[in-house]
Symmetry: D3
Subunit: 332 residues, 6 copies
């Protein structure tokens, strides 16, 4: 055992992150990391598992969304797990970071399968934890939902989507790209179109045929303009009220390009006329409170395109706002 | 005739843009380009003509607004001509891009005259099309309106201006610069002061004497603060209701510096406290619906100063939002 | 005496700034600069003194807030002293820029003392002027208020703080850093906790123990979410109504990180979910109107991190909006 | 046939690019574009065919190298086809731009095969033209050389590589990524290790085992330090002299990360200590002169990371410098 | 007379700049500014007059070169007037900054005439000072040389040009733009082609016809490649040796785009393969030493495009290096 | 003990960094981190200890040099410990990262003392290791050398400085700031002026009086211009040859602003006309080879100002180049 002879030194930074006994942790000191040698994880007590999904090769346009799990882990060192708006202390929640799903450099199908397998493994080994995935691009949503379905074949799954786009492009065009996840899920029989609510669509970014496809499939959607008029809180509650009449599980997917380009400059397909961050935080807090919501992902954020770190910070805030709702679900 | 022996190649990009038979075009595939060899333009069927006006030498401060027509043509490749907010498909509109007005490198008066001539020629040859100009700096508005007046000397013309500034500086200071267009039009007798409505003024960016000039000239204005309280929709309708009691033609001019600097970082004179993009889109959609509105320009956007392409995208969205109103004017 | 033989030359720029007889000045032509040789300052007529406090060595994270006084002086050359929103001409206000407090490169305690001394000297020599300090980081607020207290030991002082943070960290951790000014003032007995109102707190950026400290100390606070629902105007008035029942002097401190990161990218600790600039301008205009408000500072703005100059311009607009209220205080 | 009624208008920009009869073209007016309807390409007269290969999904780190063919086509509008350094007019060279190889969004193997097929088709249909490919990442080199080998199975192929890296990673790690092309070619039997010359390696960016692999495989290499001491011209000539004793065809591949990071900030893996641009231009001009050099590619340039367009312009200059050598090969 | 009661304050920054008695000034404290009320300028003792020429409306591409005089005046606050390389103290030189030539916002011909008039006035009033102009774009060189010629009609004037371009475009194309100054001077009979030396040309940035024009006109030029091989020092001396056999006055013009894009990212037309800054400093120091060199300008630097202030700092360093030579001319 | 049930997951990134048994590590896998619980550090086998010194509050101008130790630790994940230029494998060197010296937020004297204490502790506990400090600004050099002197009072210490500046400002001006370290050491009697060699000075960035101070103190210096003519290798060897005739220990200090601004845009005081990176790497490799060199620091690098990460990467490369020399010292 080495004694540490330098009282005037800080130990190297990453050691400090593991310090226990800190009364008031930063987010990275509260979220625990799973590692091969980590023992004594009592899985029955874990509330939420975080899963990085660093895949952006399946994006239609060039994207570094693969860098998001790392960028968010860095950025949340600047957040504390206490939400002043709601006076909620998140630290009683037991959150474990599982690390990243392995990805292949040149075999996207392999990567997609690994994502499905990861969700399946999580549901099989630790069915009582809430999985929260950090993408990656939007193609991963189809893979994650399929993994859930494989683990729970009898469940009916609904989707609550915050997005500027329908994500209903045909798989015939480019395979399972980031423009296709909802169509992929419908056409593979994983979900029904009527079990999808999309909130935040706007502007000139969805071809008319996709809107017609949505209508034929029975997809429900609320444009940004209408959602703002009614309040995001109310719209989310209406969507969940409708969904839980039919489905067993609601999966929430947040495409960060739902944000206005002034608020989310780092989401590759973000545009003017979108959601403001406080609206997004309200929406996901509302979603987090509902016990039917059983999984979530945050996708399509490219840290390389970010300005002043605004979008990465918004991504972390989205995750923590959702967890605030999750805490309230358990304690209200 | 060469056969094309490479099934695995895309033809060069700009050829692909001309593909016909695409069921669902992007904006650049819907808007047609006029070229010397282009035949079969049936002018009687053209609804809207776009005109690039790449002049920024007449700006008071250094500006690359001359690059905007090119930047917007590049950026609208990322938009579709279907407006989900209003469920409006723009493709029935017949829109032709005439290209750019020739500009002289060292003779601004020559350039200004060419702009006036271009509007005159458009009104003379094809009086049934709606001209929509993409600046360039704000000095071009005076030249375009003068071209209209030359073609229609008996018409009374009103101006609906969205701007942070009055643009009432004296021509004696710097000649017909971007600070002068409204005063230029009034003092040249092209329009009357009482036929100008300016919406969006705010803050500490107009000298008191300009406000006094506006008052003396009978110009109507609504500050950003008041416009937001009443809703942009209502304010635009009030302005148009007032104007069309007196004028034959309403010319709409959008200075992109009306936007808040968070939404329009690429407009050279943009400031905090301005309009949000969704407010701007609401305003121009409302303006587009009114049949008295017969011409429009979008000016003072400098792509070299833009951040995350936010302002250029906002410029394109402004144009398409206006055209949505224009479509509704014909079909409601 | 040299005659000036070049009719076609502008004299060097800084001379032009001193031109008198300009009917409509820009802000830098209206605000007067105090210099060693400047005579005829009739102090009894001075309304407001500006004081640069270029200290950011006391910031917890790396910051160039020391550059803000210079950056704001440069930026206000683009503003006029006429507020169109309120039709208020600021030029009757007699505003003098005293320059910057001397700072030491390596002795922060020396610098802090100089700041306290500067406020004390101002209050002693010219007690009828309103001091408005341009930081610098938030540590300076404690020093400025202590200087006030030293000059007016019998006054009870209240604080109106616009901030994302409580600034209640313990001085034991890092000394009098930018995270500590309010606690510093309370624990030194300069103010009472119940005389602090903090408006704009939000999100995951204050440890729970700081909130508990605030509660024990009797600090009043309104989160951003609630302030927006009720309107900034109303919240400020409520705070002032409460404070002036007890205190003689209200000191206003604006930490620019109260802004949302989309509006204030250049404030080091700015985050998503914060205040919009028009809300901030409304708030400080309201504060400026109240005669109990007797001093102000604007802090924690790092021009090196700014994007499109948005935050520096917002800082200037904040100062001018406050002065609009100050003018109305005298003339309503 | 429409007459063009606007003498004061420029026709839309892209039409002007096709103007014939311009005595002194810019590069984009000299290089011809192949399009489906383009007739009268007399293939026997074509000297060089350009081929865009917009693939960067196979990069180990996030990259937008896929955007390079488009970015270079835009940038060469600012170059003329006359090299003042050598007094060489390139316009007698007949250069045709074939457009881009089709790429799949999610199936990299499909994309790789299409690249091989494209080279095979070019060699089969028009064996007398010189193919010059614009990547994309470095994985494409293996595919292009395999396409050549398929068309010319009896030829022995050598590689002249300008690169900071060996590109000898094992395919077992990540499949055929951008770290593997040379190893891929050796282990697939397409080339022999002794027929590879790598020039420009330096610093701490190649694992020792890769250097040992290179030594065992017989690869020849010259570090940047030594190449600079001897002059790039001399080193290239030595390499070619050695190669052409054994091989029929030399394939030149330029990884733009061979440049020093001050000269090539937009190459994802660029580092300090690399090549200067004038050294690179000297090297490729020398390579272009040798008739054994029969194909070339330029890879690993990410326009999204570029600063001041320096790297994209360097890419275009590299292509034109090579073509200067190619012209001299025919005319000296 | 106001006493200055604040010992702990710095006076406002611009006052400090005028402090006399500073033993070791910064550049801005050494260079004196001419102002309307400045008396006691003993013109017979002035060595060098600086003249800002803020014109960039005459540039072919969008440019903010008009901002350069201001940017350089700001930047030289970070330089001292002592050249360590040559152990030369510049302070004995008497340098006066005349300010900027007035420019018109919309009348370029007016601005050009004012530039010619300014040079004429300088030569008429104070013929013994050395004029050094800070552009502005390259069109100003023609105007300045014409002003010299007007004042000294019998002198034969030679040009020493450091440039990537010939600047020999026809005035028929765009009028007297930044691509034309040398041709303008030749065709107006102001200079003879054989009296022009251009050093630093390179690459693919001059049309062949311009090179042919140069040859017919007898212009001498040395490409960058050859200049580097022989050393900039030697090349400049050879040029001056040749010129002074024929001409009375050598005018030096430095187009900052002669720099490599890595060294001069802020010059609009800068490219790879250009001059390094130390080569440029060597060249202008050599030019400054020769008594036949009687005027100079530095042009085509756009501070808005600069990266890390590298180009603006290089511009200041160029001016000071030239003045080092000028000092040695007087004292060696 | 938890089994790790997710074969398809990567464990969290920081765990992977500690993997042992990796045959070919990246730099961060080779350099070991000292942590409180780390046992079995056999100090007698440690060759080099790295020490982060995150202090930039003592800089004259605003600087985030405090972020450099963290930025370099992140950046060296992209380097391997094998130097291809010299065929040197660094992994036999036993390098331990001690972490960062504790710094106080508001008490610079405390921080300075902690730095001295840290060096003293290192020399006392483990006198056989080579300390290599990562700044921080240049003020730390004085503190580190004083710590060495305190541990070895009888040694005569020489300084080999690579810098654009003398760093000889008076401590009376600003206390022990980053402009003073060499003067501080001389005037405190820690070193003698004649034992300082400064290489790389150039341009207009040192006041004449500082040069005169240097001359009086006997400091030796070689300007950049002369050093380049003779080769950095030769200059370093001459300096060391001279120094080791007199001193026991040579301390090497590299101020990153010695780099030309094109190569080191992220060093706050960097300028045109400086050192190129390959020259710097040559210089420090030469210094590393000499056994009299016993300590080193790298200072004045501000990651917040960096462009394309060029300067941070250059900092890491400087450290690794020095260690290459250090390895050769032991093995040649």
């Amino acid at each position: 055992m080495t004694t540490y002879p330098y009282p005037q030194l800080n130990p190297p930074p990453f050691v400090w992150q593991k310090e226990t006994g800190v009364r008031e942790p930063k987010v990275h000191e509260w979220i625990r990391s799973l590692s091969p040698g980590a023992d004594h994880v009592e899985w029955q007590n874990v509330d939420v598992t975080l899963l990085g999904v660093p895949l952006s090769r399946s994006s239609i346009s060039a994207s570094a969304a693969s860098e998001t799990p790392h960028a968010m882990r860095q950025a949340w060192k600047g957040f504390v797990p206490y939400n002043l708006d709601y006076d909620v202390d998140l630290t009683p929640l037991n959150v474990v970071d599982l690390g990243d799903v392995k990805q292949h450099v040149t075999d996207i199908a392999w990567s997609h399968k690994a994502i499905t397998d990861a969700m399946y493994a999580m549901r099989t080994h630790h069915p009582n934890t809430f999985p929260l995935a950090l993408g990656g691009d939007h193609s991963i949503t189809a893979m994650l939902v399929k993994g859930w379905k494989k683990a729970h074949p009898d469940e009916r799954i609904g989707i609550l989507q915050l997005d500027t786009h329908f994500d209903l492009r045909s798989l015939k065009d480019n395979g399972p790209s980031n423009g296709t996840p909802i169509r992929n899920l419908i056409e593979s029989g994983t979900i029904k179109g009527e079990d999808v609510w999309n909130i935040g669509l706007h502007g000139f970014f969805n071809a008319k045929s996709l809107k017609e496809y949505a209508d034929r499939a029975g997809i429900r959607y609320v444009t940004m303009r209408r959602a703002r008029q009614r309040g995001l809180d109310a719209v989310i509650q209406e969507a969940l009220l409708d969904l839980k009449r039919r489905v067993d599980t609601v999966y929430v997917t947040v495409d960060m390009d739902v944000l206005d380009i002034a608020y989310g400059p780092g989401a590759p397909a973000t545009t003017p006329g979108g959601m403001q961050t406080d609206e997004l935080f309200t929406a996901v807090t509302a979603a987090g409170r509902d016990p039917h919501v059983k999984a979530m992902d945050i996708v399509c954020l490219d840290p390389h395109k970010d300005v002043a770190q605004a979008t990465v910070k918004a991504g972390v805030h989205t995750m923590l706002s959702f967890l605030t709702g999750f805490y309230l679900r358990q304690h209200d």
